[in-house]
Subunit: 474 residues, 2 copies
């Protein structure tokens, strides 16, 4: 699949000569950088470089473009759809050394960071300011990677996703130009919204070298709550009614019965068995009490038993840590197995039907696939486990995933709420977006005519029209 | 400036032959469609067409493209920066007959509408559902036009702008293709964010034929409040502290002393004189009381006198109507004069400095230019009045506006918070965005190679690099 005019040796020679920049071609380093935390086959790049400045990134892009070598930006390696693998070889640009926190503008509730800063590092850094950065995919992802994949997480129902929380970007484009998008103003109607175009572009349009993100005041009071339900419908209907009532809930997470059992075993939480909602309320003392009681009343009408809520930090922290560690809890249930994570997002009125049909499908297939989700957004995840020694399992999971996506699309939803497309979901791009994919391709070609930026992902062969699938460009 | 290959006569003949579609070439109709409600010189199109369906829009675009004739989408004609004028002639596409409300998905809190539906029509239609659509530019703009200009208004501080509230679009692109962007899911990481790219694209990339927008539950309790301040700093500092405290205020509007006087005369409101904040709180009874008292305490420390708040609808409605009618109140202060409206948006920490420096500038120039603003967002407006019979006034206002914009840009703000670029602010595009304008131009060229969609606006000659300004393309 590599370009005939590609000159990887010449490229690496020039990159290796860049003063003061680390580069590695060691197999172990390359393999580590070609692998994410999903089922996708690791595909190592030809080299990994570690830029320390915007100028380094410009030089890398210019050298790679001159040699027709793919450029793959790399944050913390926690993506889930093969975004960082190197199916056509090329140079992985590991941003971890660009990890400066440039400015905390506490009075404007924003922060300016380099892309390699992780979300936990940023939050630790600003703790004393009384502010926090709310976007929390499970892993300690880098802010640059989170912007690249339009990440969200448990707080998105109240605080939005990276789409809403990136104010401005500095980007190195495929022609080696440095542009700035957006400003520190909260809103603007000055020109095309390039910030939102670049957020979620998965490294296809440019490499971020600086990001301005929104911060929020740490709420005066935070209350956590959990509630087990007799049925999954009861839990989902409680979610739907809460959102429809306009209760400004900060987190609303569903963990299904299978997931509850795994978490209890892993973290000894002693959650009551059954489909469970984990919730969080942010506000004043009176406000969180009002919210919690309102949701409790809704839950009571939907078969929710033992609705517990508390403003104690300790129990709350344990619950959310366990929620974030769900993937490891699941792994413990199937030691040595591999996992295929996937997610979809649907209009909230469709959520119960979508989850129930999916659970029935999992059961029919006899698979181990806990369901959890940011259900306040209509978004849920499956982590489908499989024995890598069993060659029959992958094709079955592939079909299950296809049925899941088509179910979500038929309900006017999307093939991915927050994991993105990468390599894993290119085949669904045209099913979801139709000819709008051609508009995306036109933009990609206009901004990266040599197709050097993360080629083969998102708009790769699987996303081309059926009659062109076999003759992928670049 | 018209294209040598343009064939307007042939174009109008074919458009006139389209079955069942109204077209007008009457001067009065054309003049009305070439004029917005600002100071920009009316420039009538060659014809006005009134499509009734998506297929009509496709046919119009195809016919115009074949004849190299500009296509200018038109909503309610309430834009402020010359977006709808026809500097190169062409065909105005008046969307007012595409005014169907296609679906109200109450349980998903969204609505699907045709572009000609106005915001007030939508809100009247859904009143019985307990939902509302919050975006409220002063005028009763069309939803299509509001999406095209990325409109916002008084509720944006809580509910966001059109950027946050358009979920999905159906768009006819320059090649006559119909695409759909987004879905009814609340979030997605599936591909490039075309929805956000098209929102605010001012008719340069396509014509919207259907929009899916977010709705919200009408709050249980709404409280209005007003407070006059000894100084303008006091009012702005109250705003800054309110936002920084994370109080979820729904509206926070500044009207300066000049504006208060005009509104009092026009609407007999009897507001105390002085720089005044108008506020609104949404929530439960306890919630709005808590919010109002918190802001009252902040205001008291900033010289705010007579902080009044109330949950009575009548007084509140009068205040907000007066706020929305500010422009007419101002007009009454200078009968027969013309107005030059402008707006900027800055990081909130810069807001007091920006407004004070601007007020001093207005005073030095001896101009009548009330200041009001959506200050919770860092956004404020001037409406600069001038005697059209005085030829000296326009150049002075132009310079005042330039100083305003440069002041905002120096503070890391934007040249327009919500009015957009149109013809009026193209000259500032490169000052604000630098080479990012070239990325916008590359996208424009990729999606509209013949430059038929609203040519000359936003990315017109004023936005080209200095050495190309004189040789505008298309």
């Amino acid at each position: 699949m590599s370009d005939a005019t590609q000159d990887i040796a010449g490229c690496l020679t020039q990159l290796g000569n860049m003063s003061g920049m680390k580069m590695s071609t060691a197999l172990a380093v390359r393999e580590q950088h070609g692998r994410d935390i999903s089922h996708h086959k690791p595909q190592p790049p030809d080299a990994v470089v570690y830029p320390r400045s915007r100028d380094d990134v410009v030089a890398i892009v210019n050298i790679c473009r001159a040699h027709r070598v793919p450029v793959i930006p790399y944050g913390a390696g926690t993506s889930l759809e093969g975004h960082i693998s190197a199916p056509r070889g090329g140079v992985c640009v590991d941003m971890s050394e660009m990890n400066a926190i440039i400015a905390i503008n506490a009075s404007d509730l924003d922060a300016v960071v380099q892309p390699g800063v992780t979300r936990k590092t940023l939050n630790a850094h600003i703790r004393d300011t009384g502010l926090f950065f709310p976007i929390d995919p499970g892993a300690d992802a880098s802010i640059g990677g989170m912007a690249g994949t339009r990440a969200s997480g448990t707080n998105a129902v109240r605080y939005g996703t990276m789409r809403e929380n990136v104010l401005a970007l500095e980007v190195v484009t495929a022609d080696g130009r440095v542009i700035r998008t957006g400003s520190r103003a909260r809103k603007s109607s000055a020109g095309l919204d390039l910030t939102r175009l670049f957020v979620g572009s998965e490294g296809l349009l440019g490499i971020f070298t600086e990001l301005t993100v929104r911060l929020y005041g740490i709420p005066e009071v935070i209350a956590g709550a959990s509630c087990a339900f007799e049925t999954l419908e009861g839990a989902v209907n409680t979610t739907i009614a809460t959102i429809q009532s306009g209760i400004p809930i900060a987190r609303m997470e569903l963990i299904d019965d299978v997931q509850v059992e795994a978490i209890n075993r892993y973290a000894q939480l002693g959650l009551p068995p059954g489909n469970t909602l984990l919730m969080e309320f942010h506000g004043t003392a009176a406000g969180v009490e009002e919210q919690a009681k309102a949701v409790q009343a809704i839950a009571a009408g939907e078969g929710g038993a033992a609705f517990k809520w508390s403003v104690q930090a300790e129990q709350r922290t344990r619950i959310w840590q366990a929620r974030h560690d769900a993937v490891w809890a699941n792994q413990q249930m199937r030691p040595g197995w591999s996992m295929w994570p996937t997610d979809v997002c649907v209009p909230i009125s469709q959520l119960a039907d979508c989850i129930l049909a999916t659970k029935a499908d999992i059961e029919r297939e006899g698979l181990f696939a806990p369901v959890l989700g940011h259900v306040g957004d209509g978004n849920f995840h499956l982590t489908i486990f499989f024995d890598p020694a069993d060659p029959a399992s992958l094709p079955r999971i592939k079909l299950l995933n296809e049925r899941l996506v088509r179910r979500a699309l038929a309900m006017q939803g999307t093939c991915s709420g927050e994991h993105g497309i990468g390599l894993g979901k290119t085949q669904f791009m045209r099913e979801e977006h139709g000819e709008a994919v051609d508009i995306m391709l036109a933009i990609k070609r206009a901004l990266d005519p040599d197709n050097i930026l993360n080629p083969g992902k998102m708009l790769g062969p699987g996303a081309l029209p059926a009659d062109r699938g076999a003759v992928a460009r670049g």
